[in-house]
Symmetry: C2
Subunit: 239 residues, 2 copies
DNA sequence: CGTAGTATTGAAACGGATCAATATCTGTGG
DNA sequence: CCACAGATATTGATCCGTTTCAATACTACG
C-alpha cells in the first residue's frame, strides 16, 4: 500500500466523446451531483503495481472507474498466448461482463486508485436517474469506439505503422499528457506487444526503426518525443 | 442459396447476452410493449442488395435495427484499403456515431429490411422509459463484446485459424442458422478478407486448407458443413 | 549492489502479400 | 431460357516482413 495522493476528489469521473454533436474533444460526462451520488455507493481502493483487480470468469460484482494510474485488461489463451484487450486510464470504466462473469482479467500496471461500484446499487441509482443512465451509455459507446480503433491498429500489416498509431493514441489520451510534450509510455514493451499482436522483438525493432527514420526520439523506455511531426503524423494516417 | 424467411413481426427486436446472470444464450431484450413503442417512431425500409444505408461522417439522424437480411459496416482508408468492421444480422443495431457523425459506412449485402429510429424521438422515448434505456445499454455492451471478439480473431497469426474462427462465429449467429446444419456464408470472399484483415487470396487458400484437412466441406461459395467437429472446434479454440 | 526479469539486436525460417493467370459465378439483356 | 461479359474466386510462384531462436545488454527491484 502506498500513501494516498492528495488530489481534490469529488467522486468518480468518466469522460467520452458524445455521440451527439460536440466539438470533437473528450468531455467529462457526469455532473457534480451525479458524482456525489456515485461516491455514496463507491468504495475506493489504492492498488500497488501489478495488482490483480479481478480474473476472467469470476462472478460480476462491481463496475470500476479509474481515478488514477494505468491498468491493463487482458485474456489468456490455451496456447499460453496473452492478449491485452485495452489499457485503462483515469476516467475509464471497466468491468465488462457476460453471463454474470467478467470476460477479461484486469491488473494494475502502475500504482493506481480505483472506485468500485457495486452493480446492484448502481442499477438502483440508474433506475432513479435516467440521465445517469444516458451518461453510462455514452461511455460504453466510447469504449466501443476505442475497441474499434484497436481493431484498426491491429489490422495494419506493418509493425512500425502499428507502433506509430499506438504512440499517437497514447499521446492523445488526456490523462496521460505531460506539459513537456513527451509521450509517456507507462506500460512495458511486452504489454505493448500483447496489445498490438506482435512479438516483443517486433515492438523493439519498430521503436528502433522510428528512431532511425528520425521520426521519434526515446528519452528512456517510458518516454519519447516526436522529432518529425509531419512525418510521424503521415505514418500514423497512412493505411 | 438465399432463404429470406418472413417471421411475424410486431416491431423492432434486438437481442444480446445480458451482462448479468443468464444461461449463456442470446436473449430477446425488448418487451412487446416496448417494441410497439419503437414501432410507433420507426419507419421501415426494404433494401435491395448493395444499397448504402449511410456513409461515414454524414450527420447522425437515425439509429437502425436490422429486421431481416445481412449488412456490413466498413471504413475506407486513404491508401484505398477497406476494412469491414462488422457484419450486421437480424436483431443487431447500428448507427454508431461520434461527434454527431456516423463513423462507418453501412451497406446491405443481401436484400434487407431495416427499422429507422429517429434519434431525437428515441431519446425522448428512453427518457420516459428507464428500462428501455437499460435494454439499449445491454445491446451496446453486446456490440462491444462482438467487437472484442473480432479483435481476438484478427489478432491470430494464422489465416486458417482466423477463417475457422470466423465460420464458427457465423455458425453461432442465431439469425443465420439453418435447419440442415449448414454454415451459411452470405457475404463475398472479399468481404471476409476485409473483415479478417487478410488478402482475398489468403481467404481462398484458408478455405482450401480447411477442406484439404477434412475439417470442412463447401457446398458452394455460400454454404459449408463441418465434417470433423472435434478437429474444427479445436482449431477454433487453439490460440 | 546484485540478480532476475526485461529489452535489444542478430541470423534464419515461415507465412502471408503481391503479382499473374485461369476458372467460376452473377446478373443482364437478347 | 440461354449466352455473354464483367466481376469474383481460385490456384501458382515469388518476395518481403514478422516470428522464432539465440545471445547480449539493460533495468528495476529487493
Amino acid at each position: 500500500m502506498k500513501p494516498q495522493q492528495q488530489l481534490p476528489v469529488d467522486g468518480p469521473s468518466i469522460s467520452a466523446i458524445s455521440f451527439e454533436s460536440a466539438n470533437g474533444t473528450t468531455r467529462t460526462l457526469l455532473r457534480p451531483e451525479q458524482r456525489r451520488q456515485l461516491l455514496g455507493i463507491a468504495t475506493e481502493a489504492q492498488l500497488s503495481p501489478r495488482t490483480m483487480v479481478y480474473r476472467e470468469s469470476s462472478p460480476l460484482s462491481h463496475l470500476y472507474v479509474v481515478a488514477d494510474g494505468v491498468l491493463k485488461s487482458f485474456r489468456d489463451f490455451p496456447s499460453g498466448r496473452r492478449r491485452v484487450m485495452a489499457f485503462l486510464f483515469p476516467q475509464d470504466i471497466f468491468g465488462l461482463a457476460e453471463d454474470g462473469r467478467y470476460v477479461n482479467n484486469v491488473q494494475s500496471i502502475t500504482g493506481a486508485r480505483i472506485y468500485q461500484l457495486p452493480v446492484d446499487k448502481l442499477l438502483g441509482l440508474m433506475k432513479r436517474d435516467p440521465d445517469l443512465h444516458f451518461q453510462i451509455i455514452c461511455k460504453v459507446v466510447h469504449e466501443l469506439r476505442v475497441a474499434q480503433r484497436r481493431a484498426i491498429m491491429v489490422g495494419r500489416h506493418d509493425a512500425i505503422g502499428r507502433m506509430a498509431m499506438f504512440l499517437s493514441m497514447l499521446e492523445r489520451i488526456e490523462a496521460n499528457q505531460t506539459r513537456h510534450g513527451f509521450i509517456l509510455i507507462p506500460m512495458a514493451r511486452t504489454d505493448i506487444a500483447e496489445y498490438l499482436g506482435l512479438s516483443p522483438e517486433a515492438v523493439s525493432r519498430a521503436c528502433s526503426a522510428l528512431t532511425r527514420r528520425g521520426l521519434l526520439k526515446f528519452i528512456d523506455r517510458h518516454a519519447a518525443s516526436v522529432t518529425d511531426r509531419p512525418g510521424f503524423d503521415q505514418l500514423v494516417r497512412s493505411m
